[in-house]
């Protein structure tokens, strides 16, 4: 009888803790937005962070995009061959990349490559009391450290997702046209007939924009909120990757549902 109260209590504690964190994160987001002025008046701070989280993620994004596109090409060919519609391989690759895989996979890669780095960096700055030192010098760590990283993530994410999609289409082209021998003209013309700029490409950009906000706010918050110990920073880094991945997939479901409903 006494034993059951312990796991129940822990469950309740976790739920309340989660809700509490969500509320704190909302206040944190508001604080970041309120202290974003410095990011724009000293844009070099943002550019430096774009270099660290965006430019340095380019290699993994480009290589993954190429591979994902090639795999889509191979798998799509296997299935389309049964219906004698192998020319539609371009449509399949382009639509799945532009609508879903580009924004989602790029955001997942961004969360694990750049998000974890942001959390670890901010967490360590907090642990070594650099943030407190800044505060003492009347330099707001929100404006100097957090906000530039937040805006850099928002700028980088759509660009990375666009590059991912473009590289994926190129990978599909390599597999479909160069290796398998699907007709080059039909590959591109069917793709152009099926992919609409406003309905597919722009909506993909909107998605990646939202993912960029979600990933960077989670990453900066976890770092800022990390317990100032080695263990605390490592736990915060793990939580960043896990929470970001869940948030990206959940937001993707919501956004897709909204976008598909508004189409008819």
């Amino acid at each position: 009888m006494l034993d059951i109260r312990r796991p129940l209590g822990r469950l309740g504690h976790n739920v309340i803790d989660g809700v509490w964190r969500a509320g704190t994160m909302a206040r944190f987001l508001w604080l970041v937005l309120a202290s974003s002025g410095t990011s724009f008046s000293r844009f070099r701070l943002v550019m430096r962070e774009v270099y660290f989280s965006g430019v340095l993620s380019l290699i993994i994004i480009i290589v993954s995009g190429l591979f994902v596109g090639m795999v889509l090409g191979l798998q799509g060919y296997e299935t389309l061959q049964k219906y004698g519609a192998t020319e539609s391989i371009g449509v399949l690759v382009a639509l799945s990349l532009v609508r879903e895989l580009g924004p989602v996979v790029a955001a997942l890669l961004f969360a694990s490559r750049a998000g974890s780095a942001i959390t670890a960096e901010i967490g360590l700055m907090k642990t070594t009391e650099q943030l407190t030192a800044m505060d003492m010098m009347a330099v707001s760590p929100m404006a100097r450290v957090i906000a530039p990283r937040f805006w850099a993530g928002i700028i980088s994410m759509p660009i990375l997702s666009l590059l991912f999609s473009a590289m994926g289409v190129f990978g599909g082209y390599i597999v479909g046209v160069v290796m398998i021998g699907v007709d080059n003209g039909a590959f591109w013309s069917q793709m152009q007939a099926a992919v609409d700029f406003r309905y597919d490409v722009v909506r993909g950009i909107v998605k990646s924009f939202v993912f960029g906000i979600a990933v960077t706010i989670i990453a900066t918050f976890e770092g800022y909120d990390a317990p100032p110990t080695a263990e605390g920073v490592s736990g915060a880094t793990t939580r960043t990757v896990v929470t970001s991945a869940l948030m990206i997939l959940a937001l993707d479901l919501v956004l897709t549902a909204f976008m598909l409903r508004s189409e008819d």
Partner: protein, 171 residues
């Protein structure tokens, strides 16, 4: 202003993103080709539009000449009211006929236009009066079975009444 290597990387990164956007818009998507055309809207009523969708193509002689702008149900005439946005480069006689067609057995549904012989041309707000509805495959098969069933009594073999016309008529 002194330049730093961060500036170079930022510029290269944003340029790469812009190039990717251009590739997706022009090479993968269809931006530019569609927006350039001016359109005028005409109306057509159909008894059945089948699987026609908003933004579906309007073709004549196989060439894209417009898009379906809007589909509504007319509750007074119990018909579908389809608004067509036609490319203003093309002029159509007043007695042009519109029909709902399907490209291939599994292809997309589109509106096919066939020009008439009138001197006056369609303008914004006009209505295409000669229309042909979508062919519903189930109805077609039903009619075929029905006509086959009527043929069978002529055959000398006493076919049981329960057997439908699907069985080949013996002669």
């Amino acid at each position: 202003m002194e330049r730093t290597s961060i500036d170079l990387w930022f510029g290269a990164f944003v340029t790469a993103g812009f190039v990717a956007l251009m590739v997706l818009a022009l090479k993968v998507g269809n931006a530019g080709a569609e927006r350039a055309a001016e359109v005028y809207r005409v109306e057509a009523r159909f008894d059945n539009i089948g699987g026609l969708k908003v933004r579906g193509p309007v073709r004549s002689a196989g060439v894209l000449v417009g898009r379906v702008a809007d589909i509504h149900f007319d509750n007074e005439r119990f018909q579908a009211k389809v608004t067509l946005a036609l490319d203003s480069r093309y002029k159509w006689p007043k007695d042009t006929s519109a029909s709902i067609l399907t490209s291939g057995l599994l292809g997309e549904t589109y509106v096919g236009l066939e020009a008439g012989g009138d001197d006056k041309v369609l303008a914004t707000g006009d209505r295409i009066t000669i229309t042909q509805s979508a062919v519903v495959l189930e109805k077609l098969i039903g009619q075929f079975l029905f006509s086959k069933a009527q043929e069978t009594p002529a055959a000398p073999a006493p076919a049981p009444a329960g057997a439908t016309g699907a069985a080949p008529a013996k002669k």
